[in-house]
């Protein structure tokens, strides 16, 4: 009887004091940091007033310089398309070389290192590097996004290949097929659909990033947008932002259509 009572009194869940202390410390630190950085309610209210003025100056959007706007948008789209085309083209073999289930480690680790390098910098940092290396203009933007694409699709593609069934690969190796033929017949059919998905997603990302690389002078609409910011040209800025939204929505619509074709 006394044993049953003891059992009832025992807590069903253990109290983990170290975890509780950690949560408490985290909350304390957040409060301290907010205080230190002057994030306070009063500061927030001042910010709101400022934001209202800013928004008011953006309306109505000024589309009077639409020719400049169109030129910039076209350049942005061109950067995205060229970068996606080359990015996809290069990431296909690099992703393949990085697949550890098909190739020995002395092949995969250089490929994986290259992919990791491509992923290690944010596109803005790549853009700054390439602007310094090849000068202002769309070429720097294209190179930036090619490397960003390789980092992204190359990694996902390698992972997709590592998840395939190796049974057909075994069968074709047993039939004496050359390695490349094995890739074409037993590997690509298993990953093609996913690869098209990655590529269209990357095109989407490239389109959004190509509106940004212009901020550091790597071509596209970003440069004009940054200039509008600096000249307090907020109504033109609103026009630029609206047209970027339109562009991204349009590409979303097109990519849905393209994916439907391949399904």
């Amino acid at each position: 009887m006394s044993g049953a009572e003891a059992f009832c009194r025992e807590r069903p869940f253990k109290v983990n004091w170290p975890v509780r202390c950690a949560w408490f410390a985290a909350i304390l630190y957040a409060l301290y940091a907010a205080n230190y950085l002057d994030v306070s309610w009063a500061r927030f209210v001042v910010g709101l007033g400022n934001g209202a003025t800013f928004l008011a100056e953006m309306v109505p959007p000024d589309f009077s310089r639409w020719q400049l706007l169109i030129d910039n948008l076209i350049e942005t789209v061109e950067i995205a398309i060229i970068a996606s085309a080359f990015g996809v083209l290069f990431s296909l073999p690099i992703g393949l070389l990085a697949a550890r289930n098909l190739l020995p480690s002395w092949v995969t680790w250089p490929a994986r290192t290259f992919i990791a390098l491509c992923r290690s910098f944010h596109p803005v940092i790549f853009a700054i590097l390439f602007v310094k290396a090849v000068g202002f203009g769309p070429l720097a933007g294209i190179l930036t996004l090619v490397f960003a694409s390789i980092g992204f699709i190359g990694k996902l593609f390698a992972e997709a290949i590592e998840e395939i069934s190796l049974k057909p690969v075994e069968a074709l190796r047993a039939s004496g097929a050359p390695f490349i033929s094995v890739i074409i017949y037993a590997v690509l059919p298993q990953v093609l659909n996913r690869f098209i998905g990655f590529a269209s997603y990357q095109f989407d990302a490239n389109l959004r990033n190509s509106t940004m690389v212009g901020i550091v002078g790597a071509g596209g609409i970003g440069g004009t947008m940054f200039a509008a910011f600096q000249r307090f040209d907020y109504d033109f800025l609103a026009a630029i932002l609206l047209s970027i939204i339109g562009l991204v929505m349009l590409s979303e619509f097109i990519s849905i259509r393209i994916k439907r074709v391949f399904q």
């Binding site: 069934s165 069968a171 047993a174 004496g176 097929a177 050359p178 094995v182 017949y185 037993a186």
Partner: protein, 264 residues
Amino acid sequence: MTTRTGNALAAQPERSLRVEHLVKAYQPGKPVLNDISFEVRGQNSVAIIGPSGTGKSTLIRCVNKLIPPTSGAVFVSGENISRLSGRALRHARRKIGMVFQEFNLVERLTVMENVLCGRLGYVSVWQAWRRTYPQDDIDRAFALLESIGLADFVHQRADSLSGGQRQRVGIARAIMQEPHVLLADEPTSSLDPKTSVEIMEVLVQLSEVHRIPLIINIHDVELARRFTSRIIGLSQGGIVFDGPPAELSNDHLKTIYGGEAWLQ
């Protein structure tokens, strides 16, 4: 077409497989296969029986060097393939057809593409990429699919077929290689009893028509007795029985599988 193939075959020396003192040890000192020797010639069908984990699959994969043997030699129609590597090994593998337990088809390709995969060792990468196979290969593939009852499924994707149909495609792919020996690794284990019998019929019949020695790993002793002319019993990595099905007694089965309750 049969006569043409027949004449061509008559001119060739008899197709054969000879395994000599084959040893495979994944860990040194612990051989999975220990000194295996046997020979199969002409239109003979041989069943290899034995308990799971006794190295049947390893044995079959040592023949085409999908698994490299530790020592010993394998001869296909007289050619020693155990020392080959690279291109020479690929060319030798064309002479060894293989049928798998789980079919190992490319699910997303059509039946015809899967069958023509058997010719990948003969066509260049460029031809393979553009799907331009010699007309002779295509004619043979159509005839073969017709003969095993898959003429209506030529353009269907492999993943739309039933198990028995898939295994037929797998067999057709192996036959397309014009092999000198046909290896089947548990070809009926993923199939129901009726389909298993049909698949064994197809295998034996095709091996007889094309005069290809057939080696089947199988754990169904009754199917082995019914369809093959010779049985090799493996136990603990060694051959413990080698002879016609009529000579395979319950005593032999006890030696091969151990225990006896299952024989009642």
